[in-house]
């Protein structure tokens, strides 16, 4: 019975099905979060309510869900694009930060008329993000060095660099804390509604997700990316220039993350005021895995995550549970996906084994 169930499931691979899998993981995550909250809180019911219902209690809080989701949509999207080519490049973290810096500089020091100013900031951020990907991408293409290791090194370098720039080069000493000067009003991304701070960046994120979905699934270049990720040899044999793909995809992914940095800093704040990286690039790992590596599901996954972060924050304020529970949840999501990869691929592996057996039989008879 279970086997037949599995058979149906592994035969059906359209988006609805991926959504179902995602919902299952969400369900489990919510369950685990609930358990953690119950166990660690002295007022479990109250805490549970704060966590899960809290974000819906006021319009302001509800809008925060989407505000929190916005940066994750960008970094998650960037990572998904890279994961499609089987590249574990986490430089999105540094790209985001560097992009924010780039946008800050243009926003503060280069006055321009209205919309053009914003566009200039965003473009600068995209270029910064692309730059962040160069070293990991080149190392991978030329020498096959693990992009995981090089991208992580890159992150530290970029983040420290940005912090130095903010702290020493473009610092506004009149502010009471380490920050850049205020952005010129023409550079600020407008809010969408009167309540809350949800800004147009959210729309930009949705558009980006849509564009990337179309790119990955409906263009030839996207096809090349997918095939490179599925089977490198097969891609090469089909004439795909895999080196070019590997290079391009990392630059693209990090560029998107860079854009995210700009959108976040110009939409949510009035100046660059991070003392440390907000870590969206790393959270993106859980988000993109939750979205099952599909750009179409990134908005949903990011919103769910935004909801969790919102809930965790309320939890921290209203109850005795630490909001850091969200960190564990992140870890849990990643672990779940890692384990899930085994359950749902189990059947496929059985089939592959059987097929390999066929060729193996013939080959074992070979001289």
């Amino acid at each position: 019975m279970f086997k037949r169930f599995l058979k149906i499931r592994s035969n059906n691979v359209n988006i609805v099905f991926e959504l179902i899998k995602m919902l299952i993981v969400i369900f489990i995550v919510v369950g685990i979060a609930a358990i953690i909250v119950i166990v660690t809180s002295k007022q479990p019911i109250q805490s549970l309510l704060s966590f899960f219902i809290g974000p819906f209690t006021t319009a302001r809080r509800f809008s925060e869900i989407f505000e929190a989701a916005t940066p994750l949509m960008f970094t998650g999207l960037g990572l998904v694009v890279m994961l499609r080519a089987n590249l574990f490049n986490l430089a999105g973290e540094g790209a985001f930060f560097l992009g924010a810096l780039g946008a800050t500089i243009v926003a503060v020091y280069f006055p321009m008329p209205g919309i053009i100013h914003i566009i200039a900031c965003l473009v600068t951020a995209i270029v910064c993000g692309a730059f962040a990907a160069l070293i990991p991408a080149i190392f991978k293409v030329k020498w096959g060095t693990s992009e995981l290791v090089t991208s992580l090194m890159m992150n530290y370098i970029l983040i420290y660099f940005v912090i130095w720039v903010i702290g020493y080069v473009i610092r506004d000493y009149s502010a009471g804390f380490i920050a850049s000067q205020e952005f010129l009003p023409t550079a600020i991304i407008p809010t969408l509604f009167s309540t809350g701070k949800l800004h147009a960046g959210f729309i930009i994120a949705l558009i980006a997700a849509a564009i990337m979905s179309v790119f990955i699934f409906y263009t030839r270049a996207g096809y090349n990316v997918r095939m490179t990720g599925e089977n490198l040899n097969f891609a090469k044999y089909s004439g795909i220039n895999t080196a070019k793909v590997i290079l391009f995809v990392q630059v693209l992914g990090c560029a998107i993350a860079g854009l995210g940095g700009a959108v976040e800093v110009l939409g949510r704040y009035d100046r660059f005021r991070w003392g440390a990286s907000p870590g969206y690039g790393y959270t993106a790992v859980a988000v993109s895995m939750l979205a099952r590596k599909s750009p179409k599901l990134i908005p949903a996954a990011a919103i769910f995550y935004g909801y969790l972060e919102c809930g965790a924050e309320i939890l921290g304020r209203e109850s005795d549970v630490t909001p850091e529970v969200i960190q564990v949840i992140q870890a849990v999501v990643v672990i779940l996906i890692a384990a899930e990869a085994l359950f749902f691929n189990w059947r496929q592996r059985m089939i592959v084994k059987a097929t390999a057996n066929d060729t193996q039989v013939a080959r074992s008879e070979k001289l």
Binding site: T145, L148, M153, W164, G167, Y168, K236, I337, L342, R349
Partner: protein, 322 residues
């Protein structure tokens, strides 16, 4: 201050050497652990996460039981446990190892922050806990020898253990039957299997042994290098250790030299702070040097690779498309 005075008054001092050894220790230990599992054919990119988990475990137990020995022991046990768990997922459940590594790193980063908060109520560190750190050792007669005494004596136990481990790992790999089998399994598992060696058993053993070293590395971070646990305190050392192992060509001595080099870069960075260069810029040094080392290593390797590959693996006639 000129470069000259910088060297004589800061670098060539005992204090600098102390710092160098303290910086090198965690990298060296983790890198030696990497040598063991790399040679045995089961790479674990989750070192960073394991180091964080062991670091926190060590401090918490040490504070709770008021004993650094117990703390160190539990840190090592934690590391071994997580390593074995990793091994189970990769070997038995056949989950892709990059995914497992990411999971462990996420677990380490997130889990330690959460538990830290839970236990101490502090968000950043465990300084409020009265944890006992691993002591330094003063060697009775040697300490009195001028200059040499100061160099050799007065370091943390773990530092001494780290350098001893270089030779222990060398001994393990090249002089013991287990090491021979590990190298066989890592290089040609079929050959090992054909003589009855249980590939998985060897790999699990490798994970246990490397887990011990990585656990010590983590414990040193929070109970030696510093006296408490700070969130994200490893700051990429797990990956630097991996890079050290790669550039050290997976040999104990080579890896030790690379680790020393990266430790040196870190120390110079810290020392340069006295020259009024902003700390953030200096913090970049270890990571830049890691990338540079990888760059140089790869350029050097590419020339050698082609020659060796065909000779060593005549069986590998898998079709690879150029």
């Amino acid at each position: 201050m000129t470069i000259g005075t910088f060297f004589t008054s800061i670098v060539l001092t005992i204090d600098f050497l102390d710092m160098l050894l303290r910086m090198t220790t965690p990298i060296l230990l983790a890198a030696l652990g990497a040598v063991i599992f790399d040679r045995s054919g089961i790479v674990n990119i989750g070192i960073e996460g394991i180091m964080l988990l062991s670091a926190l475990t060590g401090v918490l137990i040490s504070a709770g039981a008021q004993s650094w020995i117990l703390g160190l022991l539990c840190a090592v046990l934690c590391s071994v446990f997580v390593s074995l768990l990793y091994g189970y997922f990769v070997l038995k459940l056949k989950t892709p190892l990059t995914l497992c590594s990411l999971a462990i790193n996420a677990l380490g980063a997130g889990g330690t922050i959460f538990i830290l908060q839970l236990v101490t109520g502090e968000k950043g560190n465990t300084a409020s806990l009265a944890s006992i750190s691993i002591p330094t050792i003063v060697i009775p007669f040697i300490k009195d020898i001028p200059i040499v005494g100061a160099i050799l004596s007065g370091h943390n136990i773990i530092t001494y253990l780290a350098f001893i481990s270089i030779f222990l790992v060398k001994f393990l790999l090249y002089k013991t039957p287990l090491g021979l089998r590990m190298r066989a399994v890592g290089e040609n598992p079929d050959a090992a299997r054909s003589v009855g060696i249980n590939e998985h058993k060897i790999k699990y053993t490798a994970l246990i042994l490397s887990g011990i070293l990585i656990g010590m590395s983590g414990a040193f971070m929070s109970m030696g290098y510093m006296n408490y646990f700070v969130r994200d305190m490893t700051a990429g050392r797990g990956f630097i250790a991996l890079a050290a192992e790669i550039t050290g060509q997976a040999t104990p001595i080579g890896t030790a030299l690379s680790s020393l080099l990266f430790g040196l870069m870190g120390s110079i960075g810290t020392a340069l702070q006295s020259l009024n260069i902003p700390g953030e810029l200096l913090s970049i040094i270890p990571y830049v040097s890691t990338l540079l080392a990888l760059l140089i290593y790869n350029m050097h390797k590419k020339r050698q690779m082609k020659k060796v590959y065909l000779v060593c693996h005549p069986k590998r006639n898998k079709l690879v498309i150029k």
